[in-house]
Amino acid sequence: MDDVKIRLLQTLEQNHRVTTKTLATMLKLTEDDVKQMIKEMEEARIILGYVTLVDWEKANNNDNVTAIIDVKVTPQRDVGFDEIAERICRFPEVKGVYLMSGAYDLSVIIEGTSMKKVAFFVAEKLASLENVQSTATHFVLKKYKQDGIVFEEDNKDHRLVVSP
């Protein structure tokens, strides 16, 4: 991929809410070029979406719990881990699925409205899947940082108002 597209992606990743006009100015491109490139990359699914990171706890709207499940599975002939991973992905409760190296195979991130519901989901839906050998559930107690963003960061500008 060319350098311009990479720079556009890096900029978008940090500032997806700025207008295409602003993006164009920042990168010294024309707005049409920016729009075109974004469209192409969306169609090619290089750009998969634009995510908002919310601190739901602060929004006083959080009874949700998050759990990270270590899943051991039996890989299948021809498709390896892909088929089982895809099956797991289909559940809306599942927020993330990663194939891991090490002691287990898949790391599955689940969000539910209560611990009970998550546990139930693991037992009923996940562990019961064919080829799943075992699961180990870890509940998240507190989120400090996600996607490069620290939840409670002191962003105070300590600089003097005017300096040489």
Partner: protein
Amino acid sequence: MSRPFIKKDIQELPSSGIRKFFDLASGVKGVISLGVGEPDFVTPWHIREASVYSLEKGYTNYTSNCGLPELRREISSYLQRKYGLLYDYNNELLVTVGASEAIDIALRCVLEPGDEVIIPEPCFVSYKPCTIMAGGIPKTVPTWEANEFKLRPEDLEKAITQKSKVLFLCYPNNPTGAIMNRRELMEISRIVEKHDLLVISDEIYSELTYEGEHVSFSSLPGMKQRTILVNGFSKSYAMTGWRIGYAAAPEEIIEAMLKIHQYTIMCAPVMGQMAALEALKNGDEEVRKMAEQYDQRRNLMVNGLREIGITCFEPKGAFYVFPSIKSTGMNSETFCETLLQEEKVAVVPGNAFGECGEGNVRCSYAASLEQITTALERIENFVRRHKKKDNVCAVR
């Protein structure tokens, strides 16, 4: 009645125009400041962490007067890697308390009373007072937007007299954002050679060059032996508060600077030196990332100001734009004071950087995208409200 305790020179020395404006701006609540001469980034964590670690390990003592040998070795290899410069870390490098100290002691060890120092303006606020305090006579040379704020050889020639001894160069420039390329610096170097001048080249913004490569003056043919290269960590690594800078110069000059440094400063703080060491070893990637962000903001700022109808030279380095506000009919100070009061945006009057800066203001784009965007909106409101009457007629 008691006698005056303050000596005359210092009594007569004006305090910085920035200081005056700082006092004004500090009193206003909710200000968006584009008046800051330092990065808005916090020092990268790995650098801070290295300093904390050094404290934990008990590095709390004096270092060698000229700075930690490991740090000088890293600086030396940095200068070689970047500009092909060969400085012996043992006797041609001195670690100082910021680039500011380097400038001060450089002047103090070379100026005889009455020696003239040529200072292209607009420029950083300390060159002139430091010259005066060192017993020299500042001879300013204006630079102009029409010439991209570069120092023209003919203007330099005109300023040279029998008494000229030092020439200041500061590119990328604070406050204009001007840079000078190899060819342009070569022309300057010929004049420097012809008139046997010493150059103090303040290259503190060297890493923040957005078009072309930074050229270190000292790397030009024959210039190493007549250049005091001043640089530091403040701007490139977002380390302003650490106060670590350095000077690279011929042995004889470093030795002289060291005399002043050892009696007045002793050594730069060790925790800062430890941080600087880490910065040089592992900081390249962070520098690149920050420079890229500044570059994007620069484009946003220049474009934004031009859309408002403010003439603005496109800076090629540092993190300032230096637009002309003459179209508003106000002078720099009135513009800044009124803008501050009415729209709560702080920018610095151009005349704080020299008389020829009158008619311009310095806006720093070391600020977040949101701050820049909001500041531009406010400036637009302001400019529209204050458009000179005759301009309005002309448009009609």
